[in-house]
């Protein structure tokens, strides 16, 4: 297969369309703008729709509406817009409407630095919207992985009827690489109720251990309600504590009980590693080069890379780091995944290398940090 040069953001659009995205609503923002531009160009070619909305709140609402009507939908933004989308991300989570929210992270709080890389939205991806809710977040480390992983983001969202955060960063979003685009992909579509379920349709009844609701697209003649209020089996709000408790528990457990299916990670040079570098997304490229050079100097260092960021792949992490003496977390923030690593690596020293000034962490910085450990 021949390679083509492609930007990370472009690969995101190509992957999304391959996964079946047929609706995009968004409000352009650097460094994610090429995703909106690419969707505007590509969607009409496959019979899809692109809408530039008046703001991020409306675009997230439009994505939920389109998905409730049965169309695979996506939006893309960066930190400032991600903040604005949070209310409706919570709605999608509680109403169990599948959708993909791409956040190409840029530096800083507030409007920050538009064209500089960051991974400062990791905790926002987890807890940006209020209340107890589950979330899935995935983070790619190359342009090629962006293509494959955004397809997985759609598949997980359809399979578990949940919003999925596709947590990119400026490094990968704006980088161009030669990639092989494979058409040999798996695409999962949400389950559809059969016609005979129309009578007394109660999609949110998580009965018989079935945690994922089978939602009919709106407009197909199935009578039920979609709401952000805690609800009963027919989707209508209720104050019955037993019902609401069961409903939120189902919401949590549909992700919690399926961690093994959802969580993905990669271990590199970990077999004999004494030092484990934990990093993800674009930062993993700096670590990749650093490990190559450190190994040439005879330093036994490897990398554990969560590909699924949320839920954090705990079991993979514990297995990969079982025999290491030290852990170094490297991320483009002030320490976010660091907190997960500290929680899990109870008896191991955990060091940290971060960056909050908009620069890219260089392999040399990682090498220097490892050498002083």
């Amino acid at each position: 297969m021949t390679k083509v040069l492609m930007q990370g953001n472009e690969a995101c659009v190509k992957g999304a369309i391959a996964a079946g995205m047929r609706f995009f609503a968004g409000y352009p923002i650097t460094p994610s703008t090429e995703i909106a531009e690419g969707s505007a160009v590509e969607l009409p070619k496959v019979g899809g729709k692109f809408i530039q909305m008046e703001d991020e709140l409306a675009s997230m609402a439009a994505v939920i509406g389109a998905s409730a009507a049965g169309v695979k939908s996506m939006t893309a933004t960066s930190g400032p817009g991600f903040s604005l989308k949070q209310e409706n991300i919570g709605y999608a989570s509680e109403a169990e409407i599948p959708c993909v929210i791409v956040d190409v992270q840029r530096t800083g709080p507030s409007t920050g630095m538009a064209t500089s890389p960051s991974q400062g939205d990791v905790m926002q991806a987890r807890w940006g919207t209020h209340g107890d809710h589950p979330i899935i977040a995935l983070s790619p480390s190359s342009v090629e992985e962006t293509y494959r992983l955004v397809i997985r983001a759609f598949n997980l969202s359809e399979k578990y009827m949940t919003p999925v955060i596709f947590l990119m960063d400026e490094i990968i979003g704006h980088m161009r690489e030669g990639v092989e685009i494979s058409n040999d992909i798996e695409v999962i579509d949400r389950k559809m109720p059969s016609e005979d379920q129309k009578e007394n349709y109660r999609p949110y009844d998580c009965a018989d251990g079935e945690l994922v609701p089978v939602l009919a697209p709106m407009g197909k003649g199935f009578y039920y309600n979609i709401t952000g209020l805690l609800h009963g089996g027919d989707g209508f709000p209720t104050n019955d504590n037993e019902v609401t408790g069961r409903q939120v528990l189902c919401l949590m457990k549909k992700i919690e009980d399926n961690r093994a299916d959802i969580c993905q990670s990669e271990s590199q040079d970990m077999d004999d590693a004494e030092i484990a570098i934990v990093c993800y997304g674009g930062t993993a490229r700096s670590a990749d080069e650093a490990i190559f050079q450190l190994r040439e100097k005879g330093i036994k260092v490897g990398m554990f890379r969560p590909i699924t960021i949320w839920p954090f792949p705990e079991e993979d992490f514990l297995k990969a780091t079982k025999n290491v003496k030290k852990i170094l977390v490297v991320e483009h923030n002030y320490g976010q995944i660091l907190l997960e690593v500290q929680r899990l690596a109870k008896n191991l020293p955990v060091e940290f290398l971060g960056c909050i000034n908009g620069k890219t962490i260089s392999p040399d910085e990682i090498i220097a940090k490892v050498e002083e450990l």
């Binding site: 980088m175 700096s286 040399d364």
Partner: protein, 178 residues
């Protein structure tokens, strides 16, 4: 084989596009390539840096660590990026630029890139394509046909002729080596 190429100029001079074309040409020739850029929030006039890494092996880190080649299209870019260069770095400067101090051990190639675009090609905005031709002439990244294929991926229909002229004028440039 590994080349780490850095192109610098001001926003609007087309150095990002030049870097994309070089990366495309590398991929078309069967090599691996990564391309990236750094620029400010403004669309025109700010400082702009673009990078291409080309290798026949897997590219781990996609940005330039030790430039093997630097092109500067304005004085500020030359002064900024010529600092602390390894002595192996080949430096290509537009002839309008004063050679920055401290490049005593480097190969410095001074070429009339901007003037060639303006006078010989007849369009100042083709300077980036002239530069692409000149760079390939020095680094021998691919044959001229492949390079033109890469250029054609990025230009509007109907501009093939003027871009081919820009590319060939760039390939012909023989500057004064300092």
């Amino acid at each position: 084989m590994k080349e780490e190429i850095r192109l610098a100029g001001s926003g609007g001079q087309g150095v990002i596009l030049a870097s994309i074309i070089l990366a495309d040409a590398a991929v078309l020739s069967g090599n691996n390539a990564t391309q990236s850029q750094a620029y400010g929030p403004e669309a025109r006039g700010g400082a702009c840096k673009a990078e291409v890494v080309i290798s026949d092996e897997r590219i781990r880190f996609g940005k330039v660590l030790k430039p093997s080649f630097l092109l500067a299209l304005n004085q500020k870019a030359a002064d900024t990026f010529a600092k602390d260069l390894p002595k192996e770095t080949i430096v290509m400067l537009d002839e309008s630029i004063k050679t920055p101090e401290g490049l005593t051990e480097n190969t410095v190639i001074r070429l009339p890139i901007l003037e060639t675009a303006k006078e010989k090609v007849g369009k100042a905005f083709t300077a980036n394509i002239v530069a692409v031709g000149a760079i390939n002439n020095v680094l021998h990244l691919c044959d001229n046909e492949t390079l033109f294929e890469a250029v054609k991926l990025h230009i509007p229909k109907g501009t093939e002729e003027i871009n081919l002229k820009a590319l060939s004028e760039g390939e012909k440039l023989r500057g004064s080596n300092e």
